[in-house]
């Protein structure tokens, strides 16, 4: 049995950890430096945007970051660990409601709700991951789908109304910028979200590059071989479920704060589908791709709606199809192909390698 070649990996639409240039070589230093410069440039731009943009755009970009974080959660589970989930809207919802309940019922400051939401979702995700060990592919899809369906129903459930606010949902107060900074609330939320995003994306990137990350990906690529190598697949899979839920849960918490409102029907399976679409468009297994996914999921439906209200669905579908046709491996896959073409020096015809 040959090891999964790059060709196979490209077909699976999955990111391969880039072959590490030998440590210390100039190529390695160049690669790393290029990477870091790019990230620094992006962060600087991100920092500057709200200072020049209108409030509504700032608000929308904050939402983009929230979605990107949620998609990253899904990516960790599906892209890096190969466990398909249609249920992440539930984790997002749990995170959102944790924050909403803590803030509106118990008056807890918003920043403390994030770790709380994360912890709650980690626990739920981990517990869900246990029975999920027995399910594969389609059947796992159904189980996670059940979770997505259950969530709005549970949230609307009468006896829990004192907690959840029932069908009407809960209102969340918008936090004020701290220390009397000369920015308005929307801008503050933007920066807050940006900070959380950077921390969590960095965390994910580190995880992926670590030994744990490699084990997680090994389980995705060849679970039997991974087990044979001594990797505790059960432990890693459930942990990944938990971490994935944590990420999406914190995104949900942020989402609640940004939108200032939670209601059961916003956390239905359509949200799960949006996450999936965002994941694929951005690029399965690509961390930066999640941002592209977030952008797509927030803006494209709006664009479709603005072209024609009645046929919004058709336009959205057509755009989706075009993107899939042109970039079957998502934006990240496409970018990889483009860079590979640009960087490869032309060879004379017929020469062997």
């Amino acid at each position: 049995m040959t090891a999964p070649s790059d060709e196979v990996a490209a077909k699976e639409g999955v990111a391969r950890a880039p072959a590490p240039a030998r440590a210390g070589s100039s190529a390695a230093v160049r690669d790393d430096r290029g990477h870091r410069l790019a990230i620094l440039a992006a962060v600087i731009v991100a920092f500057l945007i709200p200072l020049f943009a209108r409030d509504f755009l700032t608000f929308q970009l904050t939402q983009v970051m929230v979605y990107a974080l949620a998609i990253l959660g899904l990516n960790l589970l599906t892209g890096f660990n190969g466990q398909f989930s249609l249920g992440h809207s539930a984790f997002y919802g749990i995170g959102a409601y944790t924050t909403a309940i803590m803030m509106s019922r118990w008056g807890i400051p918003y920043f403390w709700t994030l770790p709380a939401a994360g912890a709650v979702c980690f626990a739920v995700g981990f517990l869900f991951g246990l029975p999920a060990l027995r399910l594969q592919g389609l059947y796992l899809a159904l189980a996670t789908f059940a979770l997505a369906i259950a969530m709005p129903q549970i949230l609307k459930f009468q006896p829990l109304e004192s907690f959840t606010g029932g069908v009407q949902g809960l209102v969340v107060d918008q936090p004020d910028p701290p220390f009397g900074l000369p920015i308005d609330a929307d801008q503050w939320l933007y920066y807050f979200t940006l900070a959380v995003l950077l921390v969590m994306f960095a965390g994910a990137a580190n995880l992926v590059r670590s030994r744990t990350g490699r084990a997680i990906m090994a389980i995705r690529d060849n679970p039997i071989a991974a087990a044979a190598m001594g990797i505790n697949t059960a432990l890693y899979k459930t942990l990944t479920f938990g971490v994935s839920a944590l990420y999406t849960g914190i995104a949900g918490a942020l989402g609640a704060i940004v939108v200032q409102f939670v209601a059961p029907d916003s956390f239905n399976f359509l949200l799960s589908i949006s996450f999936l679409v965002g994941l694929v468009i951005g690029g399965v297994g690509s961390i930066p791709g999640c941002l592209v996914g977030g952008l797509f999921v927030l803006f494209v439906p709006n664009i479709a709606e603005s072209v024609s209200t009645g046929l919004a669905g058709v336009i959205y579908g057509v755009i989706l199809l075009i993107v899939i046709f042109v970039m079957p491996a998502g934006t990240a896959g496409f970018a990889r192909i483009v860079f590979a073409r640009l960087l490869r020096s032309p060879k004379p015809e017929g020469r062997s390698r």
Partner: protein
């Protein structure tokens, strides 16, 4: 006891809808080795076409036949035009393509025929069967047609060369090519058949749930659940699964105190997942035996 029996029978009767849908779901799964999320929407669209033909004055069975044929052709076209070009793309990307198709069909149906509920005729009438209050002639007709389709499919797949070729093409396309099977056409044929079955399912279901663009959403979910419960490799299992889902849902709604009614769907799904824990390939599904 009386109530239990009543609810079981009521569940069986709603279950016929799910059984029909489950059959279509499994059909296409056997043909293309994938789940078609847009299955329900294709069925819905077909049903609207039938409705339109009837509005234009065509007799029921003529409209029925034309719709089935048109759906078959549409299924083949969707496969060739939409999914062939991306057949080598990653599975998740293909799933997104299905989602796109779903969105397109739902939105265009809404645009063409709007969202008001329409009634759809049934050739079987709605009179009570044998005077019993539990099942009417239409439901009996649904069961009959579903079982009939099941029988035909069984014969087709198990007893004909073409059926065998289709099974082979879906299970192992590369090997299928090595025995000379034109895999591309087998897949297209599978799509056509699934579209046709979906159309029949839609036309059977519409008289009960009434025709509107979102009618198939819940049904598809239940059908999917039924198919998974029964085992995706078994059309008979899928039909049984569909009936089971109907019964489970009804019993949950009636007998589980307090939250049964509101959480019917959730409970049904939880029960199904519980079953899958015990039998991960569904009740009748065959675990493909592979030597590592």
């Amino acid at each position: 006891m009386e109530l239990l029996l009543q609810q079981v029978l009521a569940g069986l009767s709603t279950g016929t809808i799910y059984a029909c849908m489950a059959l279509a779901v499994v059909m296409i799964y056997q043909a293309i080795d994938h789940l078609n999320f847009a299955q329900g929407e294709m069925a819905m669209f077909s049903t609207f076409i039938a409705w339109q033909l009837i509005q234009w004055g065509l007799p029921y069975w003529v409209a029925f036949a034309i719709t089935v044929v048109v759906s078959f052709v549409a299924g083949v076209l969707i496969d060739r035009v939409l999914f062939r070009p991306i057949q080598n793309a990653p599975i998740l990307s293909q799933i997104v393509a299905f989602i796109a198709l779903f969105s397109i069909l739902n939105s265009s149906a809404g645009q063409i025929w709007d969202f008001t509920i329409k009634s759809f005729p049934t050739p079987f009438g709605h009179t009570a069967l044998f005077g019993s209050a539990l099942i009417d002639t239409h439901e009996a007709g649904m069961i009959g047609v579903t079982l009939g389709m099941l029988g035909l499919l069984y014969l087709f797949f198990r007893r004909t060369r073409l059926g065998l070729a289709m099974r082979a093409a879906a299970a192992n396309p590369e090997s299928a090519r090595l025995v000379g099977i034109r895999v591309g056409w087998m897949t297209a044929l599978g799509w056509g058949m699934a579209a046709a079955i979906g159309a029949v399912a839609g036309m059977l279901i519409a008289p009960v749930v009434f025709l509107e663009p979102n009618m198939m959403l819940g049904v598809l979910l239940y059908g999917f659940a039924g198919a998974v419960l029964g085992g995706m490799t078994s059309p008979g299992g899928a039909v049984a699964g569909g009936f089971a889902v109907g019964v489970i849902e009804n019993l949950a709604g009636t007998f589980i105190p307090y939250f049964g009614r509101e959480l019917k769907l959730t409970i049904a799904l939880i029960l199904i997942v519980a079953v899958l824990m015990v039998r991960p390939s569904g009740i009748f599904g065959r675990q493909a035996v592979t030597r590592v």
